[in-house]
């Protein structure tokens, strides 16, 4: 495994994100049955599991796109409910499975609209930074293109750049490559890998096991609303302890 910026920085005294006994239900369906988890600064946590296991829901609870019915979530040491919703979300970035770019705006405007309208940052400043980020994700030439003119992989990279514009402390990836054609997955994973190498704290829900092994610091296996097993990627993915983990890994390798 390659050395990462985070391994040179001593671990902070408190984890960046703490999830304690979180429960969540949709109607009569209990989707999260008591989740305990932490994410340290600079860590890349990869969450895997069968569909319906609650992985995406957990992610969406972190930035309060979903509310919780029990337990608590702490961000930077404070309960997420103590933050104003939009303040919290400016510090936590999210990348969606369906990209969710704003269809009526060019790639450049997709990136600049939030800082311009929320922080009232000057257009020129925003656009300069936006061009930088677009170059970072390999799309400098596409600044003026509209989402419908971009491939899925390009749209997702724009979406990542858009989230980065807000300078978040944590990036959440909700099955970021699941809606992509196979040949486009690589370009997005490359961007995510680069982000990790640069020290970004990331929580990644994915089915890409190779990415988990090569980029993740920790793998969390969820099933039926609970964390079944977690640990270093090689441990969980190559020598799982729990039978359910074994079953899941066998199924997806077929």
């Amino acid at each position: 495994m390659r050395s990462r910026a985070s391994e040179q920085i001593p671990a902070s005294l408190r984890p960046l994100v703490e999830v304690r006994g979180v429960k969540k239900r949709f109607g009569s369906n209990e989707v999260l049955k008591g989740i305990d988890m932490t994410i340290a600064g600079g860590e890349v946590v990869v969450i895997v599991g069968p569909s319906g296991s609650g992985k995406s829901t957990l992610l969406r609870c972190l930035n309060r796109l979903e509310g919780i019915d029990g337990g608590e979530i702490l961000f930077e040491g404070r309960s997420v409910s103590d933050y104003r919703e939009h303040d919290l979300r400016q510090r936590i970035g999210m990348v969606f499975q369906q990209f969710n770019l704003f269809p009526h705006l060019s790639a450049l405007d997709n990136l600049t609209i939030a800082p311009r309208k929320i922080h009232r940052t000057a257009r020129a400043v925003c656009e300069a930074r936006a061009h930088e980020l677009l170059a970072r994700v390999g799309l400098a030439a596409k600044a003026g293109s509209y989402p419908s003119q971009l491939s899925g992989g390009q749209q997702q990279r724009v979406a990542i750049a858009r989230a980065l514009m807000m300078e978040p402390r944590v990036m959440l990836f909700d099955e970021a490559t699941s809606a992509l054609d196979p040949e486009l997955i690589g370009e997005v994973l490359a961007v995510m890998r680069q982000l990790a190498d640069d020290g970004m704290t990331m929580a990644v829900v994915t089915h890409e096991m190779q990415f988990a092994r090569e980029v993740g610091n920790r793998v969390v296996f969820m099933d039926g609303g609970q964390i079944v097993e977690q640990g270093r990627p090689d441990a969980v993915l190559l020598n799982p302890v729990e039978p359910r983990t074994r079953q899941f890994l066998k199924r997806i390798s077929q």
């Binding site: 919703e85 936590i92 269809p103 929320i118 509209y146 419908s148």
Partner: protein, 228 residues
């Protein structure tokens, strides 16, 4: 009259051209004001309905039911004959624009309601995830997208408002139809006047329809919703 056949005499048209032109101007003026007002009403009430704003949503529903469920002719007469009884005295031009605005606004409310409802939820979620508060999400994401979605329906309703302006002749608002029918009443030149009306109204409708399709095509090509 009393001749064996009917001879088409276009001279009648040239003779009354100034009057007819003035009538056309009134038609365009009242329609333009009515269309703009109807669009604004539709936007406000449509958003209220789509986002279930308490009180406003119910008022909007009642308003739509009333103005789409009753004949525009009755609405016009009510505004002109009945409002004075309630102490509101409006002159003909004001009634004209108000009638068009209220009628068009009721259809636009439904148009905008559908458009706001069709804004992709994912885009709004992404905006929320970026930390945009609700009023900014509405102004910079929902509204622009809804506006592009509503254009065809908005355009069609606006064309209908233009055609409805002919009804205003019944309260002696001197728009095109009023002028033309007066000329018929005095000079008995039905076919010539009808030709004028047909060419003018059809011309305007076709022109507006063409303009509308050009605008929607331009927005679609630029890659707005519908292609994404």
């Amino acid at each position: 009259m009393g001749e064996a056949g009917y001879v088409f005499m276009p001279q009648v048209i040239w003779l009354h051209l100034p009057q007819l032109a003035q009538g056309l101007l009134r038609t365009l003026g009242a329609s333009a004001l009515g269309i703009v007002a109807a669009a604004l009403i539709g936007l406000v009430f449509g958003a209220a309905r789509a986002y279930r704003v308490p009180v406003a949503s119910q008022v909007a529903a009642a308003y739509v039911a009333l103005f789409r469920g009753t004949p525009i002719l009755v609405q016009i007469f009510f505004l002109y004959d009945a409002l004075p009884e309630l102490g509101i005295r409006l002159d003909v031009a004001e009634v004209a624009v108000l009638a068009l605005a209220l009628w068009g606004g009721s259809y636009n409310t439904e148009n905008f309601r559908a458009a706001f409802g069709a804004v992709p939820g994912g885009a709004l979620q992404a905006a929320a995830a970026l930390g945009m508060p609700a009023h900014l999400r509405f102004a910079w994401i929902a509204l622009p997208i809804a506006f592009r979605l509503v254009l065809p329906a908005l355009g069609n309703t606006s064309i209908s408002v233009l055609k409805d302006s002919a009804y205003l002749s019944v309260i002696a608002f001197a728009e095109l139809t009023y002028v033309a029918t007066n000329i018929v009443a005095t000079e008995f030149r039905v076919f010539e006047m009808f030709a004028v009306l047909a060419v003018t109204y059809l011309g305007m409708v076709l022109l507006l329809s063409w303009g509308l399709s050009r605008i929607t095509a331009h927005l679609a090509a630029r890659g707005t919703v519908g292609d994404a």
